[in-house]
Each structure stands twice: as C-alpha cells, then as structure tokens.
C-alpha cells in the first residue's frame, strides 16, 4: 500500500472498501448465473403450467387432484416450484439492494423474502408430493 515516499498500488480495492470489509465476495457471478439459469428453465415451465392450468378452469376437484398427482405433472410442478422460488428471492434481492439504502430495512426485507421463498417452496413441494404419492 502507501509508503512514506509515495503511493504504491497493490490492490484494486479502495482503502474505504478495505476498512469497511466491503469488497467483492466473489458471489456476484453466481447470483447472476442462477438468475439466468432459472429464467431459462422457467420459459418452457411457465408456458406448460399456465396453459395446463387454464384448461383445468372449472374442472371438478377430483380432476385437479388427478392432474397435479400424475407423475409427469408432479415432476414438472416440482421443477417449476424450485426454479420459481430461487429466481424470486434472487430477483427481489437485486431490486431491494438497488433501491433500499437503509441497511436494517434492506437486510430485513431481503432475509424475510428469502425465508418466505424457502417456506413457500417447501409448502408447495409437500402439497405436490402429497398429491403424487398419497393420491
């Protein structure tokens, strides 16, 4: 770093960034990549899901159960649930980090959304598994 005679740059991090401990955590690319990967998966899954559900409009309860419980549909539903909630918590995190500048509020919201996403994903997955396995 800086010595008595002058400035020697050994790192691209700013002094302020080093002091605060806020440098690159090398997690940014992974975040970006998972958002893209889940987005890619959600393209066919969304088309399948919406147009399947639309055809079930007005169907009796037993037909909805049978649809969601069939092995193929249950598999695709589980994939949809996994991709949706992963994409969701990462996306909301991006928006929150861009617009909310109060640390406590941002952290509360981001962690709250992550917790909610995880719980909703598990609840939805258990519902699908129950329909698929317990009938």
């Amino acid at each position: 770093m800086a010595d008595a005679k002058g400035l020697k740059i050994e790192t691209m991090r700013s002094y302020l960034g080093r002091a605060r401990g806020l440098g690159s955590a090398h997690a940014g690319f992974h975040h970006w990549w998972v958002v893209r990967l889940t987005a890619l998966a959600l393209v066919p899954l969304t088309l399948w899901f919406v147009f399947s559900l639309v055809q079930l409009t007005g169907a009796p309860y037993a037909a909805v159960r049978a649809w969601a419980g069939s092995p193929v549909n249950a598999t695709l539903l589980l994939a949809l649930i996994a991709a949706t909630f992963q994409h969701m918590h990462l996306g909301v995190q991006t928006v929150a980090e861009d617009y909310i500048h109060t640390d406590a509020v941002r952290l509360t919201l981001v962690l709250g959304v992550k917790a909610a996403s995880a719980l909703l994903a598990v609840a939805a997955a258990i519902a699908v598994l129950k329909l698929a396995i317990a009938g």
């Binding site: 893209r36 987005a39 147009f51 969601a68 519902a127």
Partner: protein, 140 residues
C-alpha cells in the same frame, strides 16, 4: 451570464471557440419508453412474487381437501380474485417477454438502439396476445 455559477459551465469546442456547456437534468432524456419497460420488468417481477402466495394457497388447498379447495376456488371467482388472477397472468407474460429479451441480450445480441426499439413493440404485442389467449381459453 446571470449567475456566478455559470462560469463553471463555460467550455471550449474542439476548434477553440468559447461556448456555454449544456446543463444536465433534462428529465425527458431520462424518462423514456425503454426505461419504463425496464422499470416495468422489476415491478412485474415483484408483483408475480406476491402472486405466488395464491399459487401456493391453490396447491396446498388441493392437497388438503375438497373444502379447502372450494375456498380457493371461490376466492378466484370473486371479482377481486379474478382481477388478481388477471393481473398475475398479465404481469407474468410481460415479465416472461422482457426476460427473454434479457436472455438474448446476455448473448450479446440486440444491443443497438434500433433493435431495442423494435423489440419493445414485440414485447408489448406478445404480452397482449399471450394474456388474451390465456383468458380466451380459460373462459371458453
């Protein structure tokens, strides 16, 4: 010059002529159609996130029993429920279309302004068509 601060806004052109440099802050430059499309992608993303509550309610109700399923069914048929569902599908298809453009952008394509301007019409058009198609099939 009317204000002392104007001296900071004086510059020279490449041929040495003294000129008044333009002021920034032209809001019309910043708020254009493409920006609204981009903001809309984030807004619809958050709206879809809220809408997943209904999706999970639907799945859990279907797995719980007929009475629970009838309740979610009833809610989705009320005017508020139908509006929520309509808003959710419209937001979903919009986010879907803009998202596909983002994936195309990630490959380095369609970055020039003409392609961006052409694609926004496609985005809005396909959103309307997919939303209409969804509801025409649902209600028929």
């Amino acid at each position: 010059m009317k204000d002392i601060r104007d001296v900071q806004m004086v510059g020279r052109t490449s041929d040495g002529r003294l000129v008044q440099r333009p002021l920034s802050g032209h809001l019309s430059v910043y708020l254009d159609f493409d920006m609204v499309i981009s903001v809309g992608h984030r807004v619809t993303g958050c709206a879809i996130a809220v809408g997943t509550l209904v999706l999970v309610w639907f799945l859990v109700a279907a797995a719980t029993g007929e009475a629970a399923y009838d309740r979610v069914s009833w809610f989705l048929r009320t005017p508020v429920g139908t509006l929520v569902l309509f808003g959710w599908t419209a937001a979903l298809w919009y986010h879907f279309c803009v998202g596909i453009r983002h994936l195309i952008w990630d490959t380095g394509r369609m970055y020039d302004l003409r392609a961006v301007r052409r694609s926004r019409g496609v985005i809005l058009g396909v959103t309307v068509v997919l939303t209409a198609l969804t509801w025409v099939i649902a209600l028929s």
